[in-house]
Amino acid sequence: MKKRDYVSVASAVIILASFLIPDFVHIKPTRISSAVSVSAGECLREYYDLFVISILLLIVLTTVKCRKSILNFLAGLYVDLLLAFLILMIVTVSKENLLINGTARLSFGVGQIMAIAGLYSIILKCEEYIQTMWMKVFVSVSGWLLIMLFLLNGLLDQYSIMQEYLAAKSQFFNYVTAHLKLTFWAVFAAVVTGIPLGYLCYKSKPFDRAAVIGLSIIEVIPQLALFAVIRIPFIVLSNSVPVLKEMGIGGYGFAPAFTALFLYSLYLMMHNSRAAFSCVDPQLIENACAMGMDSKTVFFRVQLPAAMPVILNGVRISLMSAIVGASLSSFVGAASLGIYIVNGINALAIDLQMLGVIPIFFLAVMADLGMTLIIGRLTYKRV
C-alpha cells in the first residue's frame, strides 16, 4: 500500500513559500526602537540557495517517504538538522554581514514562524509513522537538543529572548527555582491531602455532597480572582495575629500564592482521585474480601494500585496547570517567572514577556512529558 503523506508534503511547500515572504525576521537595534523586517534572502545571503535546495530535497523526501518506518526516521532526522541550522544560520550570517551588531536583537517574523511550524509538523508526522520506540524519541528530541547546544555555546545570543536573558541572567535562575518551588509545594500538599479526601468522598455520601459544592466553586472561580480573593483572609489574619505578621505571612508574597495554587490543585486532585476510586471494579474488591483480606489490606493491595493510573494522571494535570497558573502569582507578589510577564505587560515589551512565557511553556511541557513517561512505565508494569 503506497499512501503518500500529503500533510508533510504540504508543510514542506509551506516552508518553501515562507522563504518568499518579505517579513522573515525582525531586526531591532535596541529593545525600544521599531523593528525592521528582513526577508529570508537578505538575512541568509550566500546560504539562501543552499537552504532552498535542501527544502526542495525535503519536498522530494516527503513525497517518497510514504509510511515506511525507516524512511520516516531519516526524514525526521533531516528535518531536525534543518530546523536547528535554520535557526543558527540566520544569526550567524546576519552577524557576518553586519546586519546586526552586538546589542541588536532578532525576533521571529511571520516567515520564520511559518517555517518553524512547518518543520515541526513534519517532525510530528514522521514520528507518527515510526514504529520503533527509540527512533521515535530520537527524532523528537534531537532537534531541540541541537538548539539547546547552540544556546549553551552562546551562538544564538542575538535572538531577542536571549538578549533579555543575558540582561536578567543574575536573577533568572532564582526565579526559575522560586517558580518550581512554589508549584512543587502546592502540588505536593494537594496530593497529600487530595487523595485521602477523594477516598473520603468515595466512602461517605454526605461528605461527598458537601465537597462537590465547594469544589465546583473553586473550579468556576477565575484563577486571577482566586489569587486576589485569597488575599482577604490573609490580610485579616495577619492584622489580627501579630505572630503571623512577624513571620512575614500577609496579603502579599508566598503565602497567598501558595494557598491559591494549592486550592486549585486540590480541586483537580480530589476530583480525580474520587473518580479513580469509584471506577475500581467492585468485583475486584469482593474477590479480595473473599480471599480473607481485611479492609486495610484491601485498600493498599487492591484499591490503591487499581486507582493509581487515574490518580497519577490527576497529578500530571494538576502539575501542569499549577506550573502555568503560577505565572499569575507575581500579581500577588510571590517570586515566579510570571514577574517577567507582569513587567513586560507594564512596559509593553514583548521580548521581556517572552522571557516569562517561553520558560513556563517549556517547564509545563517537560512536566507533562515526564509524568506521561512515569505513568506509561507504571501501567506497563501492572498489566
Binding site: 503523506d5 500529503y6 500533510v7 509538523s121 510530528l124 508526522k125 514520528e127 507518527e128 465546583s216 466553586i217 473550579e219 468556576v220 472561580i221 477565575p222 484563577q223 486571577l224 480572582a225 489569587f227 486576589a228 480573593v229 488575599r231 482577604i232 490580610i235 496579603g251 501542569m320 496547570s321 502555568v324 497558573g325 505565572s327 499569575l328 500579581f331 500577588v332 510570571g338 510577564i341 513586560g344 505587560i345 509593553l348 514583548i350 514577556q353 517572552m354 516569562g356 512565557v357 513556563i360 511553556f361 509545563a364 511541557v365 507533562d368
Partner: protein, 251 residues
C-alpha cells in the same frame, strides 16, 4: 429527577445573580465599614455600574463561546473524516500545547499585535477555551457504537445520512459535555481580558484586587463572575441531561 434538580439550581443561581447585581451597590458602604475602610468609599469615584460590567462580560463570553464552539466543532469534525485523519496528530498536539501557554502570556503577545481592545481578548478566549470542544467532538464521533453504524449501513444509508442520522445524535451528549467545560473556562478567562481593555467584570478584580487592595471592589467583581460561571455550568448540565434522555448515553 435530575432534570428537576438542575432546573431548580438554575433558577436559584439566576436569582442570586440578579440580587447581587442590584443589591451589591446598596450594601457597599456597610461592607467598607466591615473592612474598616470607609475613607476608601468616599475617595473611590470609579462609578461603572455592576449591570454594565456584567452585561459586557456576558456579551464577551457569549461571543467567545460561539466562536470556540464553531471553530472547535469544525476542527473536530474535520479530524474524524478520512482527509482529516492525517492532520489529527497535529491538531491534538497543537491543542495540548495551547494548554501549556499561560493565558496572560498570550495576552502579552497579542496586545502589541492587535492593540488594546476587544480583539486580543476575544482571540485569547478562543485559544484558551477551544480544547475541550475539539477533543469531545473527536471522542464523541469516534466512539459511536459499532453496531449502530452497522445497522445504519444495513438500512442503506449514504455517508452523509450515516453522519447526521447516526453519528451526530450519539455524539451529542459527549459534545455538550465538552461545550460545558469550554464555556466555564471562557467565563473565567474573560476576567483576564480586562487587562487588554476589553471590559467586563475583570475590571474591578484587576483594578482593586491586584493593583492596590480593595476587598469590596474585589468581591464586587468576583461574586458575579462566580455566579455567572456556575449558572452557565448548570445550564449546560441541564442540556446534557436532556440530551442523554433523548439520544441515550452516547458512548
Amino acid at each position: 429527577m435530575e432534570e428537576r434538580k438542575c432546573a431548580k439550581e438554575i433558577i436559584i443561581l439566576f436569582g442570586l445573580l440578579i440580587i447581587t447585581i442590584f443589591g451589591f451597590p446598596k450594601v457597599t458602604y456597610q461592607l467598607y465599614e466591615l473592612f474598616n475602610m470607609t475613607n476608601v468609599y468616599n475617595s473611590s469615584n470609579l462609578k461603572l455600574s455592576l449591570l454594565t460590567l456584567t452585561w459586557e462580560h456576558i456579551v464577551m463570553s457569549f461571543f467567545g463561546c460561539l466562536f470556540s464552539i464553531m471553530i472547535g466543532l469544525t476542527v473536530g469534525v474535520i479530524c474524524t473524516t478520512d482527509f482529516g485523519k492525517e492532520i489529527k496528530v497535529l491538531i491534538e498536539k497543537l491543542m495540548s500545547l495551547s494548554q501549556a501557554v499561560p493565558t496572560i502570556g498570550l495576552l502579552a503577545v497579542l496586545v502589541p499585535i492587535f492593540g488594546f481592545g476587544v480583539v486580543p481578548g476575544a482571540i485569547v478566549l478562543v485559544i484558551s477555551g477551544i480544547m475541550p470542544v475539539v477533543f469531545s467532538t473527536i471522542t464523541g464521533l469516534e466512539n459511536v457504537p459499532a453496531h449502530l453504524l452497522e445497522a445504519g449501513r444495513g438500512l442503506g444509508m449514504s455517508g452523509w445520512e450515516l453522519f447526521f442520522r447516526v453519528k451526530v445524535p450519539s455524539a451529542v451528549p459527549v459534545i455538550i459535555a465538552g461545550i460545558r467545560t469550554t464555556s466555564v473556562i471562557i467565563v473565567g478567562c474573560a476576567t483576564l481580558a480586562a487587562i487588554t481593555g476589553a471590559g467586563g467584570l475583570g475590571i474591578p478584580i484587576f483594578s482593586a484586587g491586584i493593583r492596590g487592595f480593595n476587598p469590596v471592589k474585589l468581591l464586587e467583581g468576583t461574586i458575579p463572575v462566580t455566579l455567572l460561571a456556575l449558572l452557565v455550568d448548570r445550564m449546560f448540565a441541564y442540556a446534557e441531561v436532556k440530551a442523554v434522555k433523548k439520544f441515550g448515553s452516547g458512548m
